[in-house]
């Protein structure tokens, strides 16, 4: 395994460098003429655009129809800057222009990302489309951008970088090539850091991501801003490649063009993006002789491709680049440090538990949806290390109580006290970080992530390294990632799941998926664990096993457990206390025995009840 990795790393890094040296030499010798070199530049710019769009659309999973808008902001900003600094050496003004273009585009990305807080799916897509068009219309009507005629006579990199045209073309290639490499590796490393895991977890399941402690809003904004930043840089490069910009160039169709590249390559696959950008930019050039048929062939291919390979060329798979980055990093450390870094284990949160106080307590908690009272006057409490059941007929409001406790719904009345502090009105991820973790009735795993990664997402907030550290893979990154790797594997070992650590979550059998969800909840190191029908769909043996597991969890992780369950054998078997909920009200509380004999409960479950029936039903 390690040997394979080293091999592919060597091949890839050498490939990158050798390609560069080769192309650079050929261009500066004039063997690759302007036609091919300018095509090459176009390909590289398209790669930057596609890979950056893949960050929002592929990794974050939000459809963005306005990526060309960001590109135009960057392009115009950069073009205006170099044009207004004619006396500065071009290399310097270009650097300033590209950075400024990226930053202004990032600002726009941030502003457009804001609606992402409220909107989802197609509606978000429409907003991005709208913003893209607004940007275009505004550019069209400004004087500084040259109006519809566009911004002309921007210094061109193929000429302005050096005296000799060949040399200038070669330097242009070098600049664009290495920017492309940096952008691609950045997005790649970012994608594989804790920040990337957070972004992908949002795509996989936003509700679960929030419940696992991920500040989803922040990460949506982060992804939009980064993607816009890179698109802005690509725009700046485009401006200085062509030498002129027109607003029409950056219309809706341009955004679609990049989106097509992302989807054809495979959403979330950076390698796929690179391949499809390369093919889709060069192909029209090769098909030039078919002139009129070109677009027909293109669109037909698009439709057929989607029908026969709907998840794109590469799906979410990556080429061996993965290994490259990992090994490149290892090499760096071997060369410069020679010392194994110590893993930094995630800190264990300390919970201040007072002996006589419950860890979790609700006071007259309730919620109304419009006129419907879904829960009212809920008073429940959990003592430390206690296992408590929450039962009730279907539609009684059990899951609603869980949603109130975890901040999915904001209560309209009452209060929730966790370890002495009110957590009412906090967002889900904050509550998770304050010590309440949960599982879901309908399993919500991050399906296309591996078992290990599912667990690692939950460690997110107990790591400190910044997105930048993640991109450059600093020491902090390495030691923290190493630390959670150790912890995550330990956790899996406790649940006997070590052997499936690298399997995709959705390939697990049902019982293991349930177990993994519990495992993930525990990874955030909670004080209170809420289990929503953990035994649903399990057979008798599995349920028995689950009962043991739950008891084991309580002692080992020192948590209080509140569980919703219909399986009375399980509830009666392990719960020290039971609350019974009906029509949004607590109708009974007590030990298993007390509940089994409570007349109200029997009525709630069976309507009119008879003595002997109830025993069979409940035990």
């Amino acid at each position: 395994m390690a040997k394979n990795k080293t091999k592919s790393y060597t091949i890839n890094s050498f490939a990158l460098i050798i390609t560069f040296i080769f192309a650079y030499a050929l261009i500066s010798a004039g063997k690759i003429n302007n036609y091919y070199s300018s095509m090459l530049i176009s390909v590289l710019i398209a790669i930057i655009m596609t890979v950056s769009l893949n960050l929002t659309t592929g990794l974050l999973g939000q459809l963005c129809l306005g990526h060309a808008g960001f590109m135009s902001v960057g392009a115009y900003t950069a073009g205006i800057i170099t044009k207004s600094l004619p006396d500065m050496p071009f290399g310097l003004s270009l650097t300033i222009a590209l950075m400024a273009g990226g930053l202004i585009a990032a600002l726009f990305g941030f502003l457009i990302g804001m609606p992402a807080l409220r909107l989802k799916g197609d509606y978000l897509a429409i907003i991005t489309l709208g913003f893209g068009e607004i940007i275009r219309v505004v550019i069209q009507n400004l004087t500084i951008t040259g109006g519809p005629a566009g911004l002309t006579r921007i210094p061109r990199m193929s000429r302005a970088l050096a005296e000799s045209p060949k040399e200038s073309a070669a330097i242009q290639f070098a600049i664009v090539y290495w920017i492309m490499v940096i952008v691609v590796t950045s997005i790649f490393t970012l994608g594989r850091s804790r920040h990337g895991r957070a972004i992908i977890s949002i795509r996989e399941n936003e509700v679960a991501a929030e419940a696992t402690g991920i500040p989803t809003t922040y990460y949506k904004l982060l992804a939009f801003t980064f993607a816009a930043f890179f698109a802005g840089i690509a725009g700046g490069l485009h401006a200085h490649q062509i030498g002129m910009l027109t607003p029409k160039y950056f219309d809706f169709n341009k955004s679609i063009e990049y989106l097509v590249m992302v989807v054809l390559g495979g959403m979330g696959s950076i390698t796929g993006s690179i391949i499809s950008a390369t093919v889709l930019v060069t192909l029209p050039e090769l098909l030039r002789d078919f002139a009129a048929w070109r677009m027909v062939i293109y669109s037909l291919t698009l439709v057929l491709m989607m029908i026969f390979r709907p998840s794109g060329l590469m799906g979410t798979k990556e080429f061996s680049l993965t290994a490259t980055v990992d090994e490149l990093e290892a090499l760096c450390h071997r060369v410069f440090k020679r010392k194994e870094r110590k893993p930094k284990l995630p800190f264990k949160p300390h919970y201040d538990v007072w002996e006589d106080q419950p860890v979790l307590e609700t006071i007259n908690l309730g919620i109304q949806f419009g006129g419907l009272v879904a829960a009212e006057n809920i008073n429940i409490n959990l003592k430390d290390n206690e296992i408590v059941g929450l039962i009730g007929p279907n539609g009684a409001g059990k899951t609603t109580v869980f949603n109130l406790l975890t901040g999915v719904y904001e209560p309209t009345q009452g209060d929730i006290i966790l370890l002495g502090n009110s957590i009412k009105g906090r967002s889900t991820h904050e509550i998770t970080n304050n010590g309440i973790a949960r599982t879901f009735q309908n399993i919500r795993l991050f399906k296309s992530m591996t078992v290990l990664e599912n667990i690692k997402v939950a460690f997110h907030t107990r790591m400190r390294y910044s997105p930048l550290s993640g991109i450059i893979r600093s020491d902090e990154y390495a030691s923290e990632e190493h630390g959670i790797d150790i912890r995550a594997r330990e956790l899996l070992r406790v649940f006997d799941m070590e052997d499936v650590a690298d399997d995709n979550a959705d390939s697990l059998p049902y019982g293991l998926q349930r177990k993994l969800e519990i495992c993930r909840a525990l990874a955030s190191n909670p004080k209170v664990l809420l289990l929503d029908e953990p035994a649903a769909g399990m057979n008798a043996t599995e349920t028995q096993e689950l009962m043991d597991t739950i008891k084991r969890i309580r002692t080992r992780f020192s948590v209080a457990i509140l569980l919703i369950e219909h399986d009375m054998k399980l509830v009666m078997g392990i719960c020290e206390r039971i609350y019974v909920l009906n029509y949004g009200h607590i109708i009974a509380e007590g030990t298993a025995n007390e509940i089994a004999n409570n007349q109200d409960v029997i009525t709630a479950y069976l309507g009119m009840a008879q003595e002997d029936k109830e025993d069979r039903a409940l035990c």
């Binding site: 659309t57 459809l63 609606p115 409220r118 909107l119 989802k120 799916g121 197609d122 509606y123 897509a125 429409i126 907003i127 709208g130 913003f131 068009e133 607004i134 219309v137 505004v138 009507n141 509700v207 809706f252 679609i256 989106l259 097509v260 989807v263 054809l264 959403m267 009129a292 048929w293 677009m295 027909v296 293109y298 669109s299 037909l300 698009l302 439709v303 989607m306 029908i307 709907p310 998840s311 899951t399 949603n403 999915v408 879901f440």
Partner: protein, 292 residues
């Protein structure tokens, strides 16, 4: 004041056309959650059908328009069967890209067959404008408005009362459940496409009577506008599409008249964004809470 009323009438005219096209968008979206980008191009198919029917085959205008509606419907069914049906269980974005592909395909085939030069729409309709209290209302405006309102009412009645309409609503709620209830979901979806595209055919005739120039890319702009109208009103809701269409038309007209004709598009998109920020599922859309 008369200027204001004239601009209102202008807005209503454009709005009726947007609304009519938006109805088709909304129905298709409602049932399979697909933004059918090719919907606008069905408009173009209808328009060229009329051009060919009258110019080459020498049919009467009315016959040509009726045939064009049939052709639009057939195209809708065909596109659904060939391009969208195989993708029903694929990620949503694949269907979206397919829709874009179909749209590009239709446009480019039209470019090849009919050349890019715009052709005049060969149905002359010159009826004297009606004069109501000093305000001129063109016959086309009245016709367009009347037809779109009538179609919306008919459609609403169809969807709420008829058996097929009920199946449609069932499928749009939950395809699998509908299937289990014995609804032929495939046929229902096809029927939805057929109706949506027939509406695009009607829209095509009204659009071309108002703007009598036929070109391969003529469908994309009204397509996008109608789509915005559908979203504005709450996509998937029939009266919403109508409301969205009229609002968009009137907003455009007033923006051009009183704010800035240069920035009218930006203003329209701005309105859309603001509405979505405050009502994330459109004006009449039901906000759907994700079941946790």
């Amino acid at each position: 004041m008369s200027l204001f009323i004239n601009q209102l009438i202008n807005g209503v005219h454009v709005g009726s056309i947007y609304a009519l096209i938006a109805l088709g968008y909304t129905m298709v979206y409602g049932i399979i959650r697909l933004i059918n980008f090719a919907h606008g191009d069905i408009l173009m198919v209808g328009a060229y059908t009329v051009v060919v029917a009258i110019g080459t085959l020498g049919l009467s205008p009315l016959a040509a328009i009726l045939i064009s509606i049939v052709i639009c419907t057939l195209f809708g069914i065909l596109i659904e069967k060939i391009a969208y049906k195989p993708l029903r269980n694929s990620p949503k974005i694949s269907s979206l890209i397919t829709a874009i592909g179909v749209s590009m395909l239709l446009q480019n085939i039209a470019l090849l067959v009919f050349t890019p030069t715009p052709k005049p729409y060969p149905v002359p309709l010159s009826v004297e404008p009606l004069n109501i209290g000093g305000i001129q209302v063109s016959f086309m405006t009245v016709l367009t408005f009347g037809v779109s309102i009538a179609i919306m009412l008919a459609l609403q009645a169809f969807v709420t009362a008829s058996k097929a309409g009920k199946s449609m609503r069932a499928v749009s709620e939950d395809v699998k459940a509908a299937l289990l209830m014995g609804i032929n979901t495939d046929n229902t979806i096809t029927l939805t496409f057929a109706i949506g595209c027939a509406l695009a055919g009607v829209g095509s005739a009204l659009f071309c009577l108002a703007y009598p120039s036929v070109s391969p890319t003529m469908g994309s702009l009204p397509g996008v506008k109608a789509f915005i109208a559908a979203v504005l009103g709450g996509i998937g809701v029939i009266p919403g599409a109508m409301l969205g269409g009229f609002l968009l038309g009137i907003a455009e007209s007033f923006t051009k008249a009183y704010i800035s004709s240069q920035l009218s598009d930006a203003v329209v998109y701005g309105i859309l964004i603001v509405v979505l920020l405050f009502k994330p599922s459109g004006l009449l859309g039901k906000s759907v809470r994700e079941k946790v």
